[in-house]
Amino acid sequence: MDVRQLQRQWIDLISALFREGFLDAQFTQLQQLQDESNPDFVVEVVTLFFEDSERLLNDLCNVLSQQVVDFNRVDAHVHQLKGSSASIGAQRVKNVCISFRNCCEERNLEGCFGCLQQVKQEYTLVKGKLEALFGLEQQIVAAGGSLPMM
């Protein structure tokens, strides 16, 4: 495919991500931090985020499926997830984390389950989108182009 077309796709995709609130300005921060000395920074951080989040989500499932739910542990996990999602700018995940923590605070098990589902969903969504984005980036680079400036 034409590099220009790929670039346009990339721009469309990322602006959609911002517009639909999947990402916020923090993601731009990450992009800014990426330079020649650290060309894969965004991918690295986001990959780390994926790994970390999957671990956290697993843990959350485990903790919440216990007979007696340790809300403090749930809260700690959600705090972590909130921190990481905020750091990479995964806004929607972060937002769900915020309500998740509120549920935790209220010891609202049902609410927690709901939030867990939501956060999983949001995570899967943003993961898919970001992977698509990175895929495009790879294609662009492979085609000899550079990422357009946002």
Binding site: Q29, F41, V45, F49, Q80, G83, S84, A86, S87
Partner: protein, 992 residues
């Protein structure tokens, strides 16, 4: 027909109440006819409750107008009834007569018909009919009655004309009818006779009347039996003639023939008497509520109705009166009134409350809005601007640089605008807090003018004059005052094309404020260390924005000894003199600019208003500056006014009340002078402090300007450069360094003395003092160390924050060790900037790498922060929780710690507490002592130097920030950490 009429007459039943009585009573008695008779029978009437003078009553009936008219009514009705009966009988009689006549007529016809028939049969013969005699017998009178009446009947008879038999039969039938008719007539005659007899037998009207009266009386008794009313009649002299009282307290003889006042005494008796008399005189009925308070029946309220009674001649002969006990109703009514009042009050309160709630909500919303604004707009924008500035220091060609210059200056403008809006909304939502700190008005004026001169791009003279009586130091929010001055001056400069812009500061008046209970009230800011710290950070933030204004100021403050001594003296004086003086500073900012048309003056201080759209186009700006100035001045309790003449210039005047610290109150006295003399003697610059006139002329735009990025920054740097040179020129030497050291020592001892004397509730102040102490010792270190190789005042250029000294010290170490190759470009650019602006090469050595520790448990956050710090030119160590951080601190030295607040094992707040505790006491809490730390340099002064700890908090709410500051953290960065926030925060502590 006749029967029906008769029956009707018979069925006419007399009603229980005669018509006339009903009329007289004006239908007040709405009773069902029929049922009442039984009711009355059931009732036993208690006669003794009414006491009456019956003779008088009789008189009343016969002589009073009403009485007689009533009687007349009764008689009339009786007469009418009789007449009616007679009339009915007469009518019946006449009907019967008519019928009889008809019958006779018929008979005549029959006879004639018969005769005609006979004539027909007998021809000339004149037979004598049997009926002829009958005719004669029945006849004479009816014959006189006209025939025409019976004419129709004759015709019908003609039509039915038939045979002789038929006529015979018909005659027989008619005979029968006639007989019947005669019988009826006789019956009627009989009835009439009976009726006539009856009439005579009927009772006389008087009997009937008295019966009716009796009935009425009974009825009234029945009604009144349980009614709480008193009915009475009083004569012309208001003596009781009749009284009915359901609850009699007095015997008949006590009442009849006496007046009210004779019967009982007490409140209201006289009033009622007066009232009755009034009615008597005016002749009109009236009602009134009178409250009695008598021995007889206690306190009671009566509703009294008094009605005059007239004689037939129309004279008043007395009054009827009716009183009803309405005490309960009155009490209820009063209660109701009270309740209504209460309800009204409650409602008003509720309304007020709602209003307050509404206002509070609005304020909350405004605050929220503010927070949103600050986060959503400012941070990305600072990012843009600072990135652009970084970019400006990379290799660019001419065109790129020009573009970038435009970009940076517009960015600065937008940033300024946002800051303005935030300031404005801060003031409006009441978030804006004023600091109360000592400052020197002369210096403020001078610096503001200096700054303005530095950025001046036209040929203008800037002048300043401060009157001699203006105190050297006053207490106020210097930052805001400076903001006001800067705003006004830049405004003046903007609209002035030639001539001058000047500031004139003088004293309007002064007054003493008694403040026996100390500083706590007056300097609320000092009560709260956290707010002060916040304010400090704000100050330093704005100083980074405004291009190091603050640092210059401090430089010129010259000699920390002075601050220290003054602090010490203030501390001691707080106890000695419980009195404080307030001066009203009068400040004019005048120009010879384009002036303001009179019609624009009213809207001048309004938000977003400019004189005209034309001006806005020509001069730019947002129209917020003056609004902010005005609000700030008013927030400080002052007033901002303007006078102007078009094409001649404008003068903005503001009056500001400021407190004067004690020592300076008498700056003209020998006392004040001597207290400062030991410092002044050593520094010529103090002359400058007292000198009240400044003059700045713009020289042509020259030297390094084109070499640097942002024009604002350039000029500031230039400015600071010149200032520092002047200080150097004033001869701050190694000797002065050691002098200042000595001063410090003195100050420290004085501070500690002062601190000891300060009582408990001033412990916050004490903390601050100790911080200052820290500053002083730090700066001392620096100057000693650096004097050895530079001897320049620049070494003490950034002493605003305590950790600075250590940084500088560290830097110099590093510089001695080696010139690090490949320093980060940020650093290089700073070097360049400094070099070009003030032509010194030694300065940038202070900017080399500080050691930073990142304490964070989230891998992603670590990665991001690390990368950001790398871009900022910092390499960092990373640990993952508070405990690890403590171990790290025990093992090695760090200048700055970025501390996450929420962490497992040990959170940031606790770790900070431990570190601070170690810094203070020199030993670690046993719980956090690391057994395997071989190089634990406990107790050595070097390592106990206060580290800068910056909190990284996920929820940047006020509470958690306050927690951070309370636990000894110096500042905070809200999460998610952005490049700009981090940079801004670090800039507070590292002058890069």
């Amino acid at each position: 027909m006749e029967n029906v009429i008769l029956e009707e007459a018979d069925n006419e039943v007399l009603p229980m109440w005669p018509d006339n009585l009903m009329n007289a009573a004006e239908k007040q008695f709405n009773i069902e006819t029929g049922a009442d008779r039984d009711m009355l029978e059931d009732v036993t009437i208690v006669d003794d409750s009414s006491v009456a003078d019956f003779k008088r009553l009789l008189e009343l009936t016969s002589y009073s107008e009403k009485g007689s008219s009533q009687l007349a009514y009764l008689v009339k009705s009786w007469e009418y009834k009789q007449a009616n009966a007679a009339r009915l009988l007469n009518e019946e009689l006449s009907i019967l007569n008519i019928q009889r006549k008809e019958t006779e007529l018929k008979k005549l016809e029959i006879i004639e018909a018969h005769r005609f028939e006979q004539e027909k049969h007998a021809g000339n013969k004149r037979p004598i009919s049997i009926l002829e005699e009958v005719y004669d017998i029945w006849g004479a009178a009816p014959r006189r009655i006209n025939d025409g009446h019976a004419f129709n009947k004759i015709i019908t008879i003609d039509a039915e004309y038939n045979t002789v038999n038929y006529w015979k039969q018909r005659a027989i039938q008619l005979e029968k009818l006639l007989e019947e008719s005669i019988q009826r007539e006789q019956m009627l005659m009989q009835k009439l006779q009976d009726n006539l007899n009856n009439l005579q037998a009927q009772s006389s009207p008087v009997d009937e009347l008295s019966q009716i009266l009796k009935r009425a009386d009974n009825y009234l008794h029945f009604i009144l039996q349980t009614a709480p009313v008193v009915i009475g009649h009083q004569d012309k002299e208001l003596r009781y003639r009749f009284i009915y009282n359901h609850f009699p307290r007095l015997g008949e003889e006590d009442i009849i023939g006496k007046t009210d006042t004779e019967i009982f005494t007490g409140l209201g008796v006289k009033e009622s008497q007066e009232f009755k008399r009034e009615v008597l005189e005016r002749g009109l009925p009236a009602k009134r509520e009178i409250t009695f308070e008598t021995e007889l029946f206690g306190k009671k309220t009566f509703l009294i109705y008094v009605e005059p009674v007239f004689s037939k001649a129309g004279e008043t002969i007395g009054v009827n009166y009716l009183g009803m006990d309405v005490t309960d109703q009155v009490i209820k009514r009063e209660k109701m009134v009270k309740i209504r009042e209460e309800i009204a009050v409650q409602k008003a309160k509720e309304k007020e409350l709602n209003k307050t709630i509404h206002i509070t909500e609005e304020t909350m919303r405004a605050k929220q809005m503010l927070a949103t604004m600050s986060h959503e707009i400012r941070s990305p924008l600072t990012g843009v601007v600072s990135m652009a500035e970084i970019l400006a220091n990379t290799k660019l060609d001419k065109e790129q640089r020009q573009l970038l210059d435009v970009m940076i200056s517009s960015g600065d403008l937008v940033l300024q605008l946002i800051n303005d809006i935030l300031d404005l909304s801060k003031v409006e939502s009441g978030v804006m807090k004023l600091e109360a700190a000592k400052f020197r008005p002369r210096e403020v004026v001078k610096h503001v003018l200096q700054t303005a001169a530095a950025s001046l791009r036209k040929q203008l003279t800037l002048e300043g004059h401060v009157a001699d009586d203006v105190p050297i130091e006053v207490i106020g929010d210097v930052l805001r005052i400076r903001q006001i001055l800067t705003n006004l001056i830049s405004n003046a400069v903007k609209f002035t094309h030639e001539g001058k812009v000047g500031v004139n500061l003088k004293l309007q008046s002064e007054k003493y404020l008694s403040c026996s209970n100390g500083h706590d009230e007056i300097l609320p800011a000092e009560n709260c260390s956290s707010s002060l710290t916040k304010a400090n950070s704000l100050k330093s933030k704005s100083c980074s924005n405004k291009g190091m204004l603050r640092s210059r100021e401090d430089k010129e403050d010259n000699g920390y000894c002075k601050i220290a001594t003054e602090t010490a003296s203030l501390a001691s004086e707080e106890k000695q003199q419980p009195c404080e003086k307030i001066v009203l500073l009068h400040c004019d900012v005048y120009d010879t600019g384009i002036g303001i048309p009179e019609k624009a003056l009213p809207s001048l201080f309004k938000k977003y208003m400019q004189v005209s759209a034309d001006h806005a186009r020509k001069y730019g700006g947002t129209g917020l500056g003056l609004a902010i100035c005005k609000q700030l001045v008013e927030l400080m309790g002052g007033r901002l006014t303007v006078t102007s003449q078009v094409n001649c210039g404008s003068t903005f005047t503001f009056l500001l009340p400021c407190k004067v610290p004690q020592k300076q109150a008498g700056s003209d006295d020998s006392d004040g002078e001597s207290s400062m003399s030991h410092c002044e003697a050593k520094h010529d610059i103090n002359l400058d402090v007292l000198n009240g006139s400044f003059l700045f002329k713009t020289c042509s735009l020259s030297n390094g300007f084109s070499l640097c990025g942002s024009p604002a920054r350039k000029s500031n740097l230039l400015c600071s450069g010149t200032v520092s040179t002047s200080i150097a020129g004033n001869g701050l030497s190694e000797e002065s360094g050691s002098d200042s050291y000595r001063c410090n020592e003195e100050a420290v001892s004085e501070v500690s003395q002062g601190s000891i004397q300060v009582n408990r509730n001033k412990s916050e102040i004490l903390n601050i003092k100790e911080k200052e102490h820290q500053v002083n010792t730090d700066s001392f270190d620096v100057s000693i160390r650096n004097n050895s190789y530079s001897g320049s005042a620049d070494k003490v250029a950034y002493p605003t924050c305590s950790p600075l000294g250590s940084i500088v010290e560290d830097n110099s170490y590093q510089i001695y060790e080696s010139k690090i190759p490949g320093q980060h470009h940020t650093l290089e650019k700073e070097q360049n900037a400094q070099i070009t602006s003030n032509g010194r090469s030694d300065f940038p050595k202070t900017g080399s790498q500080p050691k930073i520790l990142l304490v964070e448990d989230n891998k992603i956050n670590i990665m991001v922060a690390k990368s950001m710090l790398k871009q900022l030119g910092h390499k960092i160590d990373v640990v993952h929780n508070g405990l690890e951080a403590i171990y790290a601190v025990q093992r090695a030295h760090f200048d700055l710690i970025l501390m996450d607040v929420c962490m497992p094992v040990m959170d940031g707040l606790q770790a900070t507490k431990h570190i601070r505790s170690f810094e203070e006491h020199g030993y670690w809490d046993p719980s956090v002592t690391c057994s395997d730390s071989p190089t634990m340099p406990s107790g050595t002064k070097k390592c106990r130097k206060r580290k800068t700890i910056i909190a990284m908090t996920a929820n940047a709410m006020a509470e958690s920030v306050a927690d951070c500051l309370h636990n000894g953290m110096d500042s905070f960065v809200s999460k998610p950490v952005t490049f700009e926030k981090l940079k801004e925060c670090l800039q507070q502590f590292f002058p890069c």
